[in-house]
Every structure is written in structure tokens, then in C-alpha cells.
């Protein structure tokens, strides 16, 4: 201890001249552009002697006798070690670093050198993150990291993506990884953190990396580290970009021509009268012509043609007089716009030996391509680390952000105010605005205001009493968040090898959400407008205490971590509902007259964990690691509250062995393996061990309705992970990482369906299914060209995995059972599609055909063809939504100051049930549109086809079957960036350290099996009327002082 103190003191007081010494000077330049580099840190190897280059890149340092090497470090450059060899002038050139963070991996409760890490982790650094124009960090991960799969159910600016690490890991409990920001689990949205504030995102994938997070690490852990100050001069940088948002995935090909729509509707009506109601074929045609408009569609868009003359009753063709239209509203184009996206940030960092500080302010305004949709964020962060005396270091890190998300009618539901459903499904004969049915003159309000066609005036059969665009323009759905995130720590060095750390974090998320349905028309017209107001407050407290002991004896190094963590989250909710709003422009309750509902509640969650980790390193060649953690969760009954999690891992650095050291080919080679367990208690229920009743009101008296069936036996869901892999770098150019993994989730928590004769609620939470993901993932990065002025890098990552059920629920048939649209059997996936087998169209009558499997008394199975799915047999298709292979590839070219990069994401294999295409292939009904594939429907003259005949309101023409299972493969040009960085000698003259201008585009190109189908929506392979993904083009500027 005394020796340690002395040494530290001497360093601090500047006693460096204890020995004879030599003065060395030199200039440091960048190999990229020959510019001199200021503020490069120069260290004499084996000493604590250090200095920095000045503004001209010149340094001067005293080297004691016996030292013969200098190490140069600079952010963004590869660290360089140079032998002095008795020179007094040592000029050096530094090479830019592709991934400067490569050396350090952020792990649970600390950091470790990558070389000594036995687990599996991937890092996405700030350079990559800042390129992406996602307002939510989660979306930046698409295709970026091996083993990580992304699905997104909304493209609304600010909305997030679901992240799956090494496949789906749960059914009813959360499938999302644990997000850790600066050492503490983060309960807020990732849209509250600007990408510019982030140093790195590390995805921890295996047990060796995760088990220390025990409680909630079973779906992987994403560790986000924010930027921090550096102990040198003040750096200020500004980043700005402006761009345009557009729709990335186009709509389905639907009928856009009114005449074509009328002809098809006529045919549907004729067929319905003939095949459905048994009317004579010819008479049916006359009936359809006479009644199509007046009795069904109601709207005749053509001028000067009588309703009954629109379609020729014999030929079914549109009248040749139908040439001029009364209105020309287009639901596919008129309701969308181009949104402007603007993003600006300023950050400053700096410090001294004892103080490091970082501060940033940023502003984002991301307007969607749907009117009234958008996301704005104002964020600020301040971070200070301070040494107090010699043994104590304290720090705080406070971030505030205000986010506003506007997103009316973008829900996935088939709600008639969903613009994406409405604009796709409504027939192209119905206008957006209100017109005079006879003259076609547009109608306006008495004050000249725009009037929408709500469908009531003329009894539009599609989507009664609504107009999704009118609803959007006159309603409001806005969510405001105030996010405050605070982290403080104290580090105390007790002994040389013993350190105590305490972290206290408290995050607060305040939400205010206004959901208001207009009183101008639509759903809420009859109640004079309808408003919901929700406010909530989430407070998340996390305290942990860590004791680190890391002694070394010769070639043996140890690192022991002991820790204790407590977590407490409290959620307060207040909700009100009123109707009858006086002034439609005022969405507050002060403006509403009729009370409807009011409620509030509090939920609280507590977690406590004890943990330990021991790491051992022999001679920097062999590494062993073991961890153990015990967690208690307030969700479970006291007797089932505690769970234990552990891991073991080992790695071997072959490159440190003599036989490889001098090969000249292998720069680095490491083998590693680990096994361990993690838990998951994140089940959306605050407590699971009691029956719960909802209290509602009947005549002011309480009324109990059972909401949840309690189960005291429910406990931790656990996942066991095996990982084996290698990390190699070869020829100074190529790096390859690959891992084999088995991730098995045991005792999965799921809602076991009960027979509905047990009454509602008809499900019970149990731990009763096991599932396994087995796979391989790899990351390859190659510097194809690496010269002074040209660097060209190519990277590829890919993941293959197989999802497999390893234990079925104990109450189920061991041969397999139906779970909704899926068949579950041992060896099958969680989501094997279970549906009817489509066998095409009967050429004689145009009816759909399906297989019916019939077993005779001897058990022999024969197939009959039937025309309705209710007569057919459901079959396990063996197909699932899980892709066989997914990942991304990217390339970066740096040349004479220019940088060009392209990032692609891909997925191969898997099947989606394209139910929204299915909806567009109906027999016809309610003024609904069709996909243009309907032109190939069966008719008496087009009998060889796979599209059944149209027949209005027939339920059997587009029933769910293998017909609508569609490949989930896709390829997406995720990001394309072209930038130019001014030469350093030029920027220096301007008084800047860096100046870069660039063009960037996100989601520029997307290709899947069917135009309009975005296969990235849901892990279970379903589709929704989602706010389709954004495409963004921007121009940007980065300036650093």
C-alpha cells in the first residue's frame, strides 16, 4: 500500500527526473492525408511519462535511460508503438482506425479487453450509428450485427423495433433483450437517446457475457455506453443534416381505375345472383347492371351515364360514354406527403487530469410522410467524472430529453380510421372529399372549410361512417415524454488491487398522451367527439455495490467481482375519458361536457440480486471465467421467488503460442467456449400468484370481473446457452469471427389456453414449454485495399438458426397440437404454420379447392378435394416464419478524402401469411378494392387459373390457406452514404479540426416476394396495416473545432 501511494504521489507531483534521460522530439501526421495531428498522446513505454502534440502536431518528451519505445494514441487512429533506437527526432504517421473500440468490450458491471473476453459480443460503434437516420436506435441494428434480428410494426418516426438476439426466446414473457445504459437497466424508450451521444452499442449474446445480468439476460443484453469527456483540450463538434422522408415500401398493386373496378364489381354481383342465389345467368347480368350502383356501390363517378347504364348487362363492359369523371381523388397519393427531417447536435468535451466532462445538446424534427405524423426530440446530456484525492473517483451523468410523437391512425389494427388499411381497401370510385353526387361539384362548409366524405351522405358501403383521412386531419394522437436519466457513481480504491464501486441511478419518464377523435365526422360524431387523456410516471431506481479484486502473481492474474443489486420500478397511471367537445380545435377536457370514465392505478416491481464473477488469466494465453447470480423477483409467489443463474467459460489465445507467433499470417487467433443460464421474469404481469378482479361500476356499485387467474407455481423462465467460437485476424487485413450456439429456453412462461367452458378469462399462466435455437453466426471484415490514400473495406455478417420445440405443454397431445394458426410438435418450430392445403381452382366452376384427408377404418389416408376450408383438413405445413439465414453486408471506400459506404440487410427463407394480400383477393364485398391479380380470376373463358371467381360477399373465395403463405426473403439497401472530408491542412487554416459534408439515404431500396409486402413486421409471420417504413434522404455537415 505504501509503495502504491508513493508511486501515485510521485506521478502527480511531476517527479519524473529520477533517472538519466534523453529528450526526443518529432511530428505526428496522419497517413490518410499527411495532415499534422494535434493532441496526440505520447507515452514512454513502461513509464508514466506522457505528453501531447501541440497544434502543429509537434511533441517533445524526456525519455529516461532504459526506455526505448514510444506509444502514440489518438482517437480515430490505430495506436502506434515506435522504437526510439537512440534517435532524438522521431516523426511518425498514424493510420486511421476502422474500429477504434475494438480493443475494449463493455461487459456486465465493467469493461474488459477484447482479447481476454471469453464470451460472445458484437459491437456497433458510434460511427455506424450516426450514419443511420433512425429516430429510434433499435432500428439501426437491422442487418448490422450477427445474431440480431429486427422486426418493426411501425414506421412512424420515433417508433421502435423489436430486437431478437439469437432467435425468439420466449412465448408469453418478453422476447426483448435487456437494455443497459451506462451500467444500469434502462426502462425508457430508445427514441429518447440521440445516436450522437452514443459511443457504442454492445450486444452480449452468450452466457459468459450475460449470466451476470442473471435476472433478465435470457434474451441477450444490449449495453449502451454514452460518450465521455477526454482528459485533454476542449473539443466542440457540430453535426447537422436536413432531408426528406418518403415511403420506403410501396403499397400493393391495387385496382386504381374506376371503370375496371365497376366491371369487376358487376361480375361479382352477377355471379352472386347466379351462383349464390340461383338466378338465371343472363338475368343475373341484367340484375347486376340495374342494381350495382343503386343497390350496392351507391357512387357513380362518371358524368352523364345513368346508374343502370354504367355496365352493359350482356358484355359486362363499361359504357363507352363513361369518359368524364365527377371527381378524381386518389386514395393512394393524395393522402400522403413528403416529410422534412432535420437534425442538429452540438457536443463539447474536455477536461484535465482529474476531471473529464462531456456535454451535448441536440434537436430532431422528423416529420412523417403521413400528415400529422412526426417525432421531435430535444435532448441534453452532461457527464462529469472527477477524481477526489488519490483514491476516490466520483461521476455523474444526467440526460434529459423531451420527445413528442404524433401518430394518429397508424395502429396495426383493422380499425377503419387506419389510413393504411383504408386507403388500400377502399374502392377507387369513392372520393376523399364531399362532392355533389349529381354534378360532381366539390362541397364546402359555410365558412369555406374542406368537407370530407364520411360515407353517410350517400351510404357508401365500404367503411361506414368513416374517412381515415378526414379523421386524421381533424383528430389528434400525440404522446409527449419527459425523460430524465441520472447516473452517479463512486469508485474507491481500497488497496492496489481492491476497488469498491457504488452506482445509483434514478430514471423518470413522464408521459402525457392525448387521443382525440373528431366531432366533425366519423366514429365519434354521435357523441360529439371523444377524448382520452393518459398521464403516467415511471420511476426506476437502481442501486448496486461492486467489489473488485484483481491480484496478479507472476503469470497468474485474477479478477474477482462481488456485487449486490436492487431495483425498484414504480408506475403511476391516470386516465380519463370524456365526450362532447365544444370546440373541435380544443382537445382538452375543459372543452368537453360529458364524463365517461376515470381511473388511476399504481404498479411496482422489485428485484434483488447477489452475484459474483471470477476470471483467471494465465500468461495472457488461457482464460477462465465463472459467474453466479441469485435473483428475487416481486412478480412471483414468495416460495417461487428466487432463481439461480450461472456460467462458465474459457478461451485460448493461440496467437500467443510460440508456434503461431512468428507465422506472419495470423495476427490474432482465439478459441472460446461457454455455457450457462439466464432468467426471464418479464411477463407483463405485476404479480402472478393471485386471482385478480377488475372493479367496474354498475349503478355506482362495485362489480367484479375476473381479469386474471393466479398461479402460485409460476416462476423464472430460464435459458441455457452454449457457445463455441473463434476470433481471428489474418494478413493484417482480414478478420473473421464465428460462433456456434445453442440457446435453450426451459420452463417457458406461457398462457395455457383453457376450454372456454371454464369461463372467461380462459387462460392460465404456467411454466411449461421448452424451446431451442441452434445456430451459427459469423462476421467477416476484409480490408481489400489499404494504402495511404485508399482504403476499401468489405464486411459481411450472417446468422443461420433453427428454432425447435423440445418439450410440449404437459397437458397436450405429445404428437403435436394446434395453437391458433400454428402447429406445435416436438422438433417443429414455435410457429409452424397450420393451415389448409390449397390445390388451386376448379376449372369447371372457378371455386377454390383444398385437400381433405380422410382416414378409413384401416387407418389408410386418402385425399379428397373440397371447395371450402370448413370441409378441408388443417395440416402442419412444416413452414415457419423463421428465416433460414439473415444478416447484412456493407462496404466502405475511403479515397482522397471521399468516403462512400453502402449497408445492406437481407433475409433468406421463412414464410409470411400475407393476410392483407388475402383481403385484397376476396370474392368482393362492401365496396372493397382488389389486388390487380384479380384480373386473372376464373371466368367461363379463363378456366385455367389460380384465382377463384369473384362472387360478392362469398366468404369462401379467399380463405386462409397455403395459398397466402409467401416467402419472407428480402433484400434492403439500408443505408448509402457519400461524404467528403476536407484535407486536414485546409481545415486547420479554417481553425477547425475536422470538416465533412455528406449525402445519406436510408431504406433506399427494398425487395421482397410481392410488391407491397414488408416481411419484417412480426417474428410470428403475420402482417398488419402498418405505417410503412420510412425512406430518408439527407444532406449533412460535420464540423469539429
Amino acid at each position: 500500500m505504501k509503495k502504491f501511494l508513493l508511486l501515485t504521489l510521485s506521478v502527480m507531483m511531476g517527479f519524473t527526473a529520477l533517472f538519466a534521460q534523453q529528450k526526443v522530439t518529432g511530428t505526428v501526421t496522419s497517413a490518410e492525408d499527411n495532415a499534422t495531428l494535434p493532441y496526440v498522446t505520447v507515452v514512454v513505454d513502461g513509464t508514466t511519462i506522457t505528453t501531447q502534440t501541440d497544434l502543429d502536431g509537434v511533441y517533445s518528451i524526456n525519455v529516461p535511460a532504459g526506455s526505448n519505445a514510444l506509444t502514440f494514441t489518438y482517437v480515430g487512429m490505430e495506436t502506434l508503438a515506435v522504437q526510439i533506437n537512440n534517435r532524438s527526432v522521431v516523426d511518425v504517421q498514424m493510420m486511421p482506425s476502422a474500429a477504434m473500440l475494438q480493443d475494449i468490450v463493455v461487459v456486465g458491471y465493467g469493461v474488459t479487453r477484447k482479447s481476454s473476453f471469453v464470451g460472445s459480443a458484437s459491437v456497433m460503434n458510434n460511427e455506424k450509428l450516426e450514419k443511420m437516420q433512425s429516430s429510434n436506435l433499435s432500428k439501426s441494428l437491422e442487418g448490422a450485427v450477427a445474431g440480431v434480428q429486427i422486426t418493426s410494426s411501425s414506421g412512424t418516426p420515433g417508433s421502435g423495433a423489436n430486437i431478437y438476439v439469437r432467435g425468439i426466446g420466449s412465448i408469453s414473457a418478453s422476447q426483448s433483450p435487456l437494455i443497459v445504459v451506462d451500467g444500469v437497466p434502462y426502462e425508457g424508450s430508445l427514441n429518447s437517446i440521440p445516436a450522437q451521444d452514443i459511443e457504442s452499442m454492445t450486444i452480449l449474446k452468450d452466457a459468459a457475457a450475460n449470466s451476470i445480468y442473471g435476472a433478465r439476460g435470457s434474451n441477450g443484453v444490449i449495453v449502451i455506453t454514452t460518450k465521455q469527456g477526454s482528459a485533454d483540450k476542449v473539443r466542440v463538434s457540430f453535426e447537422g443534416r436536413v432531408g426528406i422522408n418518403d415511403r420506403a415500401v410501396p403499397a400493393y398493386n391495387i385496382i386504381s381505375d374506376a371503370g375496371e373496378y365497376y366491371e369487376m364489381s358487376w361480375e361479382g354481383m352477377r355471379n352472386q345472383m347466379h351462383y349464390g342465389a340461383g338466378m338465371d345467368y343472363v338475368a343475373s347480368g341484367y340484375y347486376a347492371s340495374a342494381n350495382m350502383i343503386d343497390g350496392y356501390l351507391k357512387y357513380n363517378v362518371f358524368k352523364g351515364v345513368d346508374n343502370a347504364d354504367l355496365i352493359d348487362p350482356v358484355t359486362g363492359k363499361l359504357s363507352p360514354n363513361a369518359t368524364s369523371k365527377k371527381w378524381d381523388d386518389n386514395w393512394m397519393t393524395d393522402v400522403f406527403r413528403k416529410g422534412i427531417r432535420q437534425e442538429y447536435s452540438v457536443s463539447a468535451s474536455g477536461g484535465s487530469e482529474n476531471t473529464k466532462a462531456y456535454a451535448s445538446v441536440s434537436y430532431l424534427n422528423d416529420k412523417g410522410y403521413v400528415e400529422k405524423s412526426g417525432f421531435t426530440r430535444i435532448a441534453a446530456r452532461a457527464k462529469v467524472d472527477q477524481n477526489i484525492g488519490k483514491f476516490i473517483k466520483v461521476g455523474f451523468n444526467v440526460a434529459y430529453s423531451n420527445t413528442v410523437q404524433d401518430q394518429f391512425n397508424t395502429s396495426v389494427s383493422s380499425n377503419y380510421s387506419n389510413l393504411f388499411m383504408f386507403s388500400q381497401m377502399i374502392a377507387p370510385i369513392y372520393p376523399i372529399y364531399l362532392y355533389n353526387m349529381e354534378t360532381g361539384a366539390q362541397q364546402f362548409g359555410t365558412d369555406g372549410s374542406v368537407l370530407y366524405d364520411w360515407g353517410n351522405e350517400y351510404q357508401r358501403p365500404y367503411s361506414s361512417n368513416s374517412n381515415a383521412y378526414g379523421q386524421l386531419m381533424t383528430s389528434k394522437y400525440s404522446t409527449v415524454y419527459d425523460n430524465v436519466s441520472s447516473r452517479t457513481f463512486v469508485d474507491i480504491n481500497i488497496l492496489k488491487d481492491l476497488k469498491f464501486t457504488a452506482n445509483v441511478a434514478y430514471d423518470v419518464f413522464n408521459r402525457r398522451q392525448v387521443e382525440n377523435y373528431t366531432n366533425v365526422g366519423g366514429d365519434a360524431l354521435s357523441v360529439g367527439g371523444r377524448g382520452y387523456l393518459t398521464t403516467s410516471r415511471t420511476g426506476a431506481l437502481n442501486i448496486n455495490q461492486l467489489l473488485n479484486y484483481s491480484p496478479s502473481f507472476g503469470d497468474h492474474s485474477f479478477n474477482l467481482l462481488l456485487g449486490h443489486e436492487t431495483k425498484n420500478d414504480t408506475y403511476n397511471y391516470l386516465y380519463g375519458h370524456m365526450t362532447n367537445f365544444v370546440d373541435n380545435d380544443n382537445k382538452d377536457f375543459a372543452n368537453a361536457t360529458m364524463y365517461q370514465d376515470l381511473t388511476s392505478y399504481t404498479t411496482e416491481y422489485s428485484l434483488e440480486g447477489y452475484f459474483g464473477r471470477l476470471e483467471y488469466n494465465y500468461s495472457n494465453k488461457y482464460y477462465l471465467s465463472g459467474s453466479y447470480r441469485r435473483d428475487g423477483s416481486s412478480r412471483f409467489a414468495p416460495e417461487n421467488r428466487w432463481g439461480s443463474f450461472w456460467s462458465v467459460g474459457a478461451s485460448w489465445r493461440l496467437d500467443q503460442e510460440g508456434f503461431l507467433r512468428s507465422s506472419g499470417v495470423i495476427d490474432q487467433l482465439k478459441l472460446k467456449a461457454s455455457y450457462g443460464t439466464q432468467g426471464n421474469d418479464n411477463i407483463g404481469m405485476t404479480k402472478v400468484y393471485n386471482d385478480l378482479y377488475e372493479i367496474s361500476r354498475v349503478d355506482g356499485e362495485a362489480s367484479l370481473t375476473k381479469y386474471f387467474r393466479g398461479n402460485r407455481d409460476v416462476t423464472w423462465e430460464k435459458s441455457a446457452n452454449f457457445n463455441a467460437g473463434f476470433e481471428a485476424s489474418l494478413f493484417d487485413r482480414l478478420s473473421v469471427n464465428a460462433d456456434f450456439f445453442i440457446k435453450e429456453t426451459k420452463d417457458m412462461i406461457y398462457y395455457r389456453p383453457l376450454a372456454p367452458s371454464q369461463g372467461s378469462p380462459s387462460s392460465l399462466l404456467v411454466n411449461d414449454i421448452d424451446m431451442k435455437n441452434t445456430g451459427v453466426e459469423f462476421e467477416i471484415s476484409a480490408d481489400l485495399i489499404k494504402t495511404k490514400n485508399i482504403r476499401w473495406n468489405l464486411s459481411l455478417n450472417g446468422t443461420y438458426y433453427k428454432n425447435e420445440l423440445t418439450k410440449l405443454p404437459s397437458d397436450k397431445d405429445p404428437n403435436g397440437y394446434q395453437a391458433g394458426s400454428y402447429w406445435r410438435k416436438l422438433g417443429g418450430t414455435l410457429y409452424n404454420w397450420y393451415t389448409y392445403e390449397w390445390v388451386g381452382v376448379d376449372p369447371t366452376n372457378g371455386l377454390p379447392q383444398y385437400n381433405k384427408y380422410v382416414k378409413d377404418d384401416d387407418g389408410n389416408e386418402t385425399i379428397e378435394i373440397v371447395n371450402k376450408t370448413s370441409d378441408a383438413t388443417l395440416r402442419d405445413t412444416g413452414k415457419s416464419p423463421f428465416p433460414d439465414f439473415y444478416g447484412g453486408f456493407s462496404t466502405t471506400l475511403n479515397m482522397y478524402g471521399f468516403d462512400l459506404s453502402a449497408v445492406f440487410a437481407y433475409q433468406i427463407g421463412g414464410y409470411i401469411m400475407d393476410s392483407y394480400y388475402q383481403a385484397l383477393m376476396s370474392g368482393g364485398g362492401e365496396g372493397e378494392n382488389w389486388h390487380t391479380d384479380i384480373f386473372n380470376r376464373w371466368t367461363p373463358t379463363n378456366t385455367i387459373t389460380d384465382v377463384p371467381r369473384v362472387q360478392k360477399e362469398s366468404q369462401v373465395m379467399n380463405e386462409t390457406s397455403t395459398r397466402f403463405l409467401t416467402s419472407a426473403s428480402y433484400l434492403n439497401l439500408r443505408n448509402l452514404t457519400l461524404g467528403y472530408t476536407l484535407p486536414k491542412n485546409l481545415t486547420k487554416k479554417l481553425g477547425l479540426s475536422n470538416l465533412r459534408v455528406y449525402l445519406v439515404g436510408d431504406n433506399l431500396w427494398y425487395k421482397s416476394a410481392r410488391k407491397g409486402l414488408d416481411t419484417r413486421q412480426d417474428i410470428a409471420g403475420t402482417t398488419g396495416y402498418i405505417y410503412s417504413a420510412l425512406r430518408t434522404y439527407s444532406v449533412g455537415l460535420t464540423i469539429a473545432f
Binding site: G276, S760, S870
Partner: protein, 505 residues
Amino acid sequence: MKKFIYIVTIALSVFGFASCSEDFFDTEYTTYLSSDKAAKLVSEDPSFLDSYINGEYSWMVQYATAQSAHDDFSHMSVGLSMDMMGEDISINAFHWFGYDYAHDNHEYTYRRTLVDWTVYYTIIAKANEIIDFFSPEEDPTTAAARGYLGQAYTLRAFAYYYLIQLYQHPVTASGTPNLDGKGIPLVYASRDGYTAEEQDARSGRNTVGMVYEQIESDLDKAIALLDPTDGETYIRPAKIYVDKNVAYGIAARYYLLSQQWDKAVTAAQKAYAGYSLMGASGLKDGFMDITNPEWMWGFDHSTETQTTYASFFSHISSITGGYGGLAYSTKLIDKKLYDQIPNSDYRKALFNGPAGNSAQSSAGAKLPYANVKFGWLAGWVMDYVYMRAAEMYLIEAEALAHQGNGTAAAAALSKLMVNRDPSWSASSVTVEDVYQQRRIELWGEGFNGYDLKRLNKGIDRTYEGNNHLAGYKLKFAALDKTWIYQIPNREMQENPKITEEDQNE
């Protein structure tokens, strides 16, 4: 300094590493009432059982019992869907309840089969929960306690009464009770005294006869509790609750179904005892006010319980801003039935004639043959009617007519008709005559679909000049497979006692 650091460190460690107490895990959860707490509240004050009883009645008007669809609003949506399968209601356009109108809703994968099953089995589950608060050894002795238990038994019988008619034909081709037909699962409270094995054995498709026995046994228990031979009688605080009259009313319905005519007459008489009938003016009040003296049982809607578009009045009323009023699917009276109502009958005014009524303000109420029986109140707080005294007179009359006692039947019916049609003066009536009055009197209230099945009738919407919707001018014979539902998919999957062979056609 060194000492100080040690002390601080050790203090922090000890403080930090010390275990949190169990209180730490006893977190706040105020969203719901736990069963432990609820049971404690009952043991402290038995009147808390009110909340369980109220749970039954709020469930009966609940939106989205099984799926979020606007035609799933519990008990009244079941009745309306059954009415739609008949011929007394026509519609102007295909919309919600359209597939019921088309007789295309009986398959096990459809929403309707699951919703109806869920509605009534949940009533049973809730009743069993209440029953289990009472000791199996002895019956309660206070009026309040008898009220709780009596209501629970009545509601359980009520639920089975509907379920059995929805999932099985109540009569055979010869018109006799279909006692050997495959019935439905019976679910018990522990107070019922069955062993686990017995309960398990009865969780499959018991015969219709066994289900009838259960209904009868529950009704006997309920009536013994609600109309005790000695001791204080339960007096209900409001018409939303079941009392002895309502229990007799449900018994009368059941005896009519099971063709026990004498018992039906007696039960009907006891049910209407004390109730008066409304006259010409009351008929025009919109069938939406529970204070109507003729209403025996219903639901008194308030802001908190109303379900707006997904409500009975949204669909049935031509005057609301709902589906009926906006003419998306206005419920019209069948032309033939309309023509058969004498002009002297006050009830004829509850329907538009062939010319419609342009004086009405809503699009629905303007339509030819549109009903204007059901009214509208701002805020959607129209009350639901479950049982009216008029129905009891009709049961009495029909049961007497079935016994061949036309004169007595006419006398019973005349008690109703004097309030409906002053020129009505039959001295003897047949079952058909009574049925005709049931069609007119109870139009749209959820009776006709069940009546058609009970009386072994088909429908014919094909007659010359009919006002049925093109494409749906259908004809279905009695006992057609579409008259009953298949057992819903989820029950087939999760109930090991019901096999594919047990499924309805």
C-alpha cells in the same frame, strides 16, 4: 485517511450487501382486487357479495366477451343473432349480423360459436364462484344471503337454458324434446357435491336430458331460496337483479322449452304476479327504460356501462347514430308479418309501412318497414330489456294451448291483448295464434330464433313480394344443420372430453 476509507468502504458494503427484507418484494399493485382480499372483504362483511353478483350483470352487457367485434356485446347480441336467422327481421344492407341473416355462422371456427359459448359459460363460472361462498351443509337463512345464492342458481340455469338451445336442436323431427341428443358440458361448484371424477365425467357432451335435469334442479333450488315457504323474502334493490318473479319467469321459459305445460302455466302466473302491462303510450316509449312497469328484469345502463356502437341499440334501433340509424343495416319487419298486424293493433305503429317515413330524421328510420320500436337517448344510455310481463302471459297462453285448452289459452292471452289491440276478441286460440302474437309482441327482443327451433319451424323468405335482401331470400327447413352451432374450436382443442365425433354436423 486510510482508516477513513476503510471505514467508509466497509460501511457501504455492509449496508449494500445486507439483504432487503421481504417487504421489498411486497410491491404496490392497485390495478386489481386480489382474490385473497376479495374473500377477506366477504368474510368481514357478506354484503360484499353484491360485487360478485353485480359482476354477473355487468358481464351480460359486456363488449368483446371473446373477440373485439361490434356484434359481440354479450347476452343481447346472442338474442339478436338468433332473431336474424329467422324471417321476422329483414335488413336493408349486408353488415354486422349479416352472416347470421345468411345462416352462415354456425361453424366451429367462426366468431359467433365462440362468443355465445363464452358469454354463457362465463355466467356459469361466475355463478359457481358465488355458490362456493356458501356452505354445502346448510342453506343460508338471511334474506340477503338467500338472495345471493338464489340469484346464482337462477343465472346458472338461465345460462344452460340458452346454451342447450344454441348448440343442440331442442326437439326431434316429431316435435318431442330431444332428450337423447348430445348436449353440452356441465360445470359445477364444489357445493354441488360432485367428486372430481364425476365432474370430469360431465365435462363432455352430456345428453340434453341431463342438462335439463341440471336446469330444473338449479331452478328448484333458486325458487326455494328466493320464494321461501317461511322466513323473510329477498327484496331486490333494483330491477337489474333476479328476484323470485324473475326466477319464476326463467322457470316458465324452461318449462315451455321442455314441454312441461302445467308447470309452465304455474310458473308464468307466479312470474307476472304483481306486474301491470303497459298500454298504447308505453309501447311508444322506445323499449329503453327499465322503470317501465311491465319490465320484470333488464339492465339499467349508465355512462360507465354503455358500449356505444357495439351495443344492442346501435344495431336494433333505427333512430340512433349507430348501425341501424345510419342505415348500414337497419332492422326491418318482414312484410308478411307487417301485413298480418291488424290496423287496430297499437303495435303496428312500431313499424314503418311500405312507404317508409320521410318525416324521420335518421336515414334508418326513413326506410320502408323500418322498426321504430327501439328508441335513442343521448349518451347511449338506453336500458336493455331481458324479461317483460307480456312474455309471461304469452307463455301461459301457449302452454294452455299446447294442452288443447283453447278457451283458457284465449282467456290468458286476452289479458295481454286488451292492452294491445282493443278489437281483439278471440274466444279460443291455437298454439299458432299465440305464436303469432309472440312474433309481434317480442319482435327484435331476442325470442324469435329460439321459438322457431322450439316449435320445429323453418323459415321462408322467398314468398312473392317479400322485402328481404337480394341474395338472402332463403329457405331453411326445421332441423337444418345451420340452426345450431358447432362446438367452438377452442373448446374442441382444450377439452379432452369432446372429440371430433362429438362435433355437430
